[in-house]
């Protein structure tokens, strides 16, 4: 890249003008990126140190917003729920997705078997919230089904009682996410080269041993991606919660992203909302980096 770029066209000298015009050409893009991405981010960082109601000018309050965190009961619930989401949606849909991919890989009609799992992915997050909101509402379809099957839980108000509301929404998310995870794993399975598999088969490996010692390690790069994506998605869970329960009742199903939205846009406490946003960003960044480091180191060891 650098080699081609630094070779000027025949006979033309690099001059100051070329540098300036280059700057001119890239500046629109740089300006757009700066205006649309960097500026809002820096603004949010600034607001997080202020008391700002969106009407009067922001007042500098230093670390007050972050101190407020420590005795905000809503934030404790919100962190607990976010952890539920992280654990719930990085383990369950990933595991189910892997299972679907493994069981349907390389068999006749596999595509047909996988299709129903893929369909929910066509829904948007908000659509998912609306549909599951109706299924899960008190005395809704979920309760009716459980009652019909004589299973426990028929009298639980799934969206009203904590922590059932968070768990119920994780189930809804699993319903949607498993299919696309399966699709990603399938791509991984297809990209595994045949020689090691054949070698293992000749050595007599099959079933669990085959998976544990051959397939799983070879799938590792893709697992890293799938889990990493789920991790980030779970930390920023917002749409399904907002549409289904709006974080309620009584803030019991809020996630960090919902808390951020509520504090900023519902309570018009933009300073505090920005502080929550900043913390959420730092946590997401830290978790992602830690996770990737851990994974990459693990894979390097494997080599």
């Amino acid at each position: 890249m650098t080699a081609t770029a630094s070779t000027p066209a025949k006979g033309r000298k690099r001059s100051l003008g070329t540098g300036w015009s280059a700057l001119g050409f890239i500046s629109p893009a740089v300006l757009v990126v700066a205006a649309l991405l960097y500026a809002p981010f820096l603004y949010t960082v600034f607001y997080s140190f202020t008391d700002y109601d969106g009407l009067t000018s922001p007042k500098w309050v230093a670390l007050d917003n972050f101190k407020k965190f420590l005795d905000d009961p809503a934030l404790t619930t919100s962190i607990r729920n976010t952890l539920f989401w992280v654990v719930g949606t990085t383990i369950v849909p990933v595991a189910i997705g892997l299972l679907i991919a493994l069981l349907s890989f390389g068999i006749k009609g596999g595509t047909l078997l996988r299709l129903p799992f893929m369909l929910p992915y066509a829904l948007s997050g908000a659509g998912l919230g609306v549909i599951w909101g109706f299924i899960l509402q008190s005395d809704g379809a979920a309760n009716d089904l459980l009652r019909f099957l004589h299973l426990p839980g028929a009298d639980i108000s799934f969206l009203q009682q904590a922590p059932y509301n968070t768990i119920a929404m994780i189930v809804a998310m699993t319903w949607q996410q498993s299919g696309v995870n399966a699709l990603l794993f399938l791509v991984g399975l297809q990209s595994i080269p045949t020689p090691p598999l054949e070698a293992a088969r000749i050595d007599g490996a099959s079933g669990w041993r085959m998976f544990r010692h051959i397939t799983w390690p070879l799938l590792a790069p893709l697992t890293t991606v799938v889990v990493g994506l789920s991790l980030v998605a779970s930390l920023k869970t917002f749409d399904i919660v907002w549409v289904t329960t709006q974080g309620g009742p009584g803030r019991s199903s809020e996630t960090l992203a919902v808390t951020m939205y509520r504090d900023a846009f519902v309570s018009s406490d933009y300073g505090y909302g920005s502080a929550v946003a900043l913390v959420l960003t730092l946590v997401t960044g830290a978790v992602t980096i830690a996770y990737l480091r851990f994974q990459i180191r693990g894979q390097e060891k494997l080599r």
Binding site: W20, L55, T56, L159, P249, G250, R251
Partner: protein, 417 residues
């Protein structure tokens, strides 16, 4: 060649700047023919249009209603407009702390002269003025006024052999009979209107305490407030309330007879009539009797929502002209009677007989009016309350904890204000 490239690059930068600055530059002259009326009452589009048709005929100003249905989105939009050039001509809001908040920002147009004229001509009652007065000046004009009464399904009542109650004990006995018939006596919801039963129980037992709570003079953890919550819990425990998280609309539940009664502002008439229910034959209303019978007057919750304009409205003259007309009898007759609600203008004849009676009784001082909780408490306390009461409905045993959370928000607010 070099110069050419430089020129193009410069052009690219400049054009980018131009597109960023473009738009929003259409300055409407004083000859405006339409006002854009932003509102959080999306379901009232036809009523706004009805008024707009009349205003077009009478003052040559039509109305384009821009309706929202999601309260937070609406609030955020209006507040954001204060800082941009995209400002509404007129917008609906709420009185109380939320009005004070935007007035304090210096953006809301002063309507003092409109008020003094309207009071002088008898187009608005003097009693309404305090709700629109901040630091001695008036802001906005009344968009609507409503009393909070109990709506009930007449057929369900007659099937159960009950009449509208005349005392609190009577109301409880009615609830008991309905419950025995398999009908849920009262509607409740944990979304937005979670304060309704707290408000009713408190104003019916101690209206002074209600006012003191709103102004930070009393604590939410006061034993008398706790007693109100315990009473509410008792009603919840008896199974008198509908499921707070149901996604069914209250008017649908009332129509089907699944629920017998619902506490709402008189504006709820539009919800009932759009379900095809007829006032006085299919459904009726009654004023909820006081919990404490010894109080001199029955306390009724009252609300008034404003129609406001901004100092920097796109066309202040047009906004002002419209607001002046809006307070008049012609506009108010159309606005109130098309919706089946009372009017801020005492000259307007209310066509619905029971509503007319209520309006007259209130006008003659038969009731003690309590400002609706939504407007009475500061925004921060309201947010905490709506959350707290919503959580209480799901877990009534948690009332003490909820009151503590609300008190925390209240103490925080009154400490700095």
């Amino acid at each position: 060649m070099k110069r050419f490239r430089l020129a193009i690059a410069a052009l690219a930068v400049v054009s980018l700047g131009l597109t960023a600055c473009g738009g929003g530059g259409d300055d409407s002259s004083s000859s405006a023919t339409e006002v854009k009326l932003y509102n959080d009452k999306g379901a009232w589009k036809t009523y706004f249009e009805g008024v707009g048709k009349l205003s077009k005929e009478q003052i040559g100003l039509g109305v384009t209603p821009v309706g929202y249905t999601d309260e937070p989105t609406y609030e955020a939009f209006i507040k954001a407009s204060f800082r941009t050039n995209n400002k509404p001509d007129l917008f609906t809001w709420s009185t109380g702390g939320r009005l004070k908040e935007i007035v304090d920002s210096g953006q809301v147009a002063d309507t003092s002269s409109l008020w003094s004229d309207a009071i002088a001509s008898g187009d608005v009652s003097k009693e309404l003025e305090p709700y629109y007065t901040i630091d001695g000046k008036q802001y906005c004009v009344p968009a609507n006024v409503s009393y909070w009464v109990m709506f009930y399904n007449k057929k369900v009542f007659s099937d159960a052999g009950v009449q509208p109650p005349t005392s609190w004990a009577d109301l409880m006995a009615t609830a008991d009979k309905l419950k025995a018939k398999g009908v849920t006596p009262f509607y409740q919801t944990s979304v937005l209107f979670s304060f309704v039963w707290f408000q009713q129980l408190l104003i019916g037992s101690d209206p002074q305490l209600y006012n003191d709570l709103a102004t930070g003079k009393a604590k939410f953890t006061d034993p008398k407030v706790v007693a109100v919550m315990q009473q509410w819990k008792d009603l919840e425990d008896k199974g008198y309330f509908s499921d707070p998280g149901s996604k069914d609309q209250p008017e649908v539940m009332l129509k089907s007879g699944k629920v017998a009664m619902g506490l709402f502002g008189t504006w709820f008439n539009t919800n009932m009539t759009t379900q095809g229910m007829k006032p006085d034959s299919d459904y009726g209303t009654f004023v909820v009797p006081n919990v404490t019978p010894s109080l001199p007057n029955t306390t009724v919750a009252f609300e008034s929502g404003p129609l406001c304009s901004l100092t920097k409205a796109p066309n202040p003259d047009a906004s002002n002209k419209f607001m002046k007309w809006w307070m008049g009898a012609d506009a108010q007759d159309q606005w109130a009677n098309s919706r089946g609600d009372v009017s801020a203008n005492p000259k307007v004849q209310i066509k619905d007989p029971s509503l007319n009676q209520l309006n007259k009784d209130a006008g003659e001082g038969k009731y003690t009016l309590a400002n609706r909780y939504f407007e009475a408490v500061p925004p921060a306390v309201l947010t905490a309350s709506l959350d707290g009461f919503g959580a209480f409905m799901v877990d009534p045993g948690s009332y003490q904890k909820q009151l503590e959370n609300i008190e925390k928000a209240s103490a925080d607010y009154w400490k700095s204000n």
